[in-house]
């Protein structure tokens, strides 16, 4: 895609990964990871959203179009949503989204979603490290 002015794996740079994290669970979990001085790759840029249900599929498309190498959506575990049902909608939406990305020739391994609660700092670290490794392996398109 048409992307200017950035570092990426093809240019020997680091991949950029955009993480949409829900305010109530994953963002707190990421915060906790920081408080506990856990190390995770600096490739991840976190965008705080009120709920994973706020993440419009368009955000993901635009992130890819503007040069993200990977996109991650994280929210509360099903049943734990601060807004009761927000993440149930997220779940359906991104199950569909993955198929559409694949259909458009974007490797579905560049797009991940995970349920991470506010206390799961280690899970957040492991998850983003894993995604980072996968995306690095894929290189830049």
């Amino acid at each position: 895609m048409d992307v200017a002015n950035r570092t990426n794996t093809a240019a020997g740079g680091e991949p950029k990964i955009l993480a949409f994290c829900c305010n109530w669970c994953t963002y707190t979990g990421a915060d906790l990871a920081g408080l506990n001085r856990m190390k995770y790759p600096a490739n991840v840029r976190v965008v705080r959203v009120p709920c994973s249900g706020r993440v419009n599929p368009q955000f993901i498309l635009r992130a890819f179009a503007r040069g993200a190498d990977g996109v991650v959506v994280c929210g509360c575990h099903p049943g734990d949503c601060h807004y009761a049902t927000g993440n149930f909608f997220t779940r359906r939406r991104f199950m569909l989204m993955r198929g559409l990305l694949e259909f458009n020739g974007i490797d579905p391994r560049r797009f991940h979603a995970r349920w991470i609660s506010g206390s799961e700092a280690a899970k957040f670290r492991d998850f983003v490290s894993e995604v980072c490794a996968i995306v690095k392996g894929l290189g830049h398109e």
């Binding site: 895609m1 048409d2 049902t85 199950m95 259909f103 458009n104 020739g105």
Partner: protein
């Protein structure tokens, strides 16, 4: 054997009657243009104009979206509705865009029209109507035009419409080159054509498609699902979508549009018919419907009644989340 001329007479007399008794303010149907193989859309306001309505294999435009122009109207609107229009109407009703009592639907079971979008048609007969103009008995239920239906050129003159703009007939065709194969296609024929490709091939396939897109938004304008009063693409200063016509931005628009309409698409195929660049954009929507069917394990067909639940507007506690 086609009954276009008899059916046309039924449309004309029903429209005249509705206009004469004041049931509707106008009836939306088709009228001839100067070109034998093209029709335009006519809002017949008078009984005389109702006599200019035509019904032939070139009535390819679906009329449902026009109801949206009159969604705040305090009058009733008459519309000729085939399978595709009736599903569009159900769509608009489900989305609370129009009032049922302000639409008078003249049900017109379709013999199949001369458009590529009709070749994948699964529902030629209207699914909602106030008055069924003729029986669908004996007509094939699916697919596009099956026989060579001639257009009577003598009729290709709009007599006395509006301020009396009669158009002399020119005769020759002025239409987009279409795939002449109108035999019934697989429901997801566009999606299936792409699915077999490798990831890189898919990417360049869509890149080629969207490089040609001129962002005229005809697909959006024709779509009965696109009922938002303000579309996100029109809010270009808010940064949702670049206004520049680059393949990357066109692609974001195309895929986003497909996703916005995914679970509510009535599969009328108008988006593809109206595209001036002839882009196979139906593939995106077909793929999404296919995915929905794969996820739920059930048939997913929209627009069949006005009380449907949309896939993305609902959830199930037991939904799959195998990649989450």
């Amino acid at each position: 054997m086609n009954n276009f001329s008899q059916q046309q007479q039924k449309i004309r007399s029903a429209a005249s009657r509705l206009l004469a008794d004041g049931t509707v303010r106008f009836v939306i149907g088709w009228a001839p243009t100067r070109f034998a193989e093209r029709t335009t859309v006519l809002f017949a306001h008078t009984e005389a104009e109702a006599q200019a309505l035509v019904w032939n294999a070139h009535c390819t435009a679906a009329l449902g979206k026009y109801l949206l122009d009159h969604r705040l109207a305090d009058y009733a609107v008459g519309i000729v509705a085939r399978g595709c229009e009736s599903r569009m109407i159900n769509r608009l009703l489900t989305d609370h865009q129009i009032w049922r009592e302000r639409v008078y639907i003249l049900g017109a079971p379709c013999p199949g029209m001369d458009a590529e979008r009709c070749a994948g048609c699964r529902e030629r007969a209207p699914v909602v109507w106030d008055e069924l103009l003729w029986d669908a008995d004996g007509m094939p239920e699916t697919g596009g035009r099956q026989d060579a239906a001639p257009t009577n050129l003598d009729e290709a003159t709009i007599a006395d419409v509006g301020a009396g703009l009669a158009l002399p007939a020119v005769g020759a065709a002025c239409s987009r080159p279409l795939d002449t194969d109108t035999s019934l296609r697989s429901r997801f024929f566009r999606a299936e054509a792409v699915e077999g490709l490798s990831a890189a091939e898919k990417f360049s396939y869509w890149d080629e498609v969207y490089a040609k897109c001129i962002r005229c938004y005809a697909c959006r304008q024709a779509c009965p699902v696109c009922s938002c009063r303000a579309c996100y693409v029109d809010m270009d200063r808010q940064g949702f979508q670049g206004k520049q016509h680059s393949a990357a931005d066109n692609r974001v628009f195309g895929v986003t549009r497909a996703f916005h309409v995914a679970d509510r698409c009535v599969e009328c195929g108008e988006c593809e018919r109206v595209c001036p660049m002839g882009l196979p954009i139906l593939g995106q929507t077909q793929k999404l419907i296919k995915e929905i069917e794969a996820l739920t394990g059930e048939a997913y067909v929209q627009g069949m009644d006005a009380e449907e639940e949309n896939f993305l507007g609902a959830f199930d506690l037991d939904d799959k989340d195998d990649f989450l």
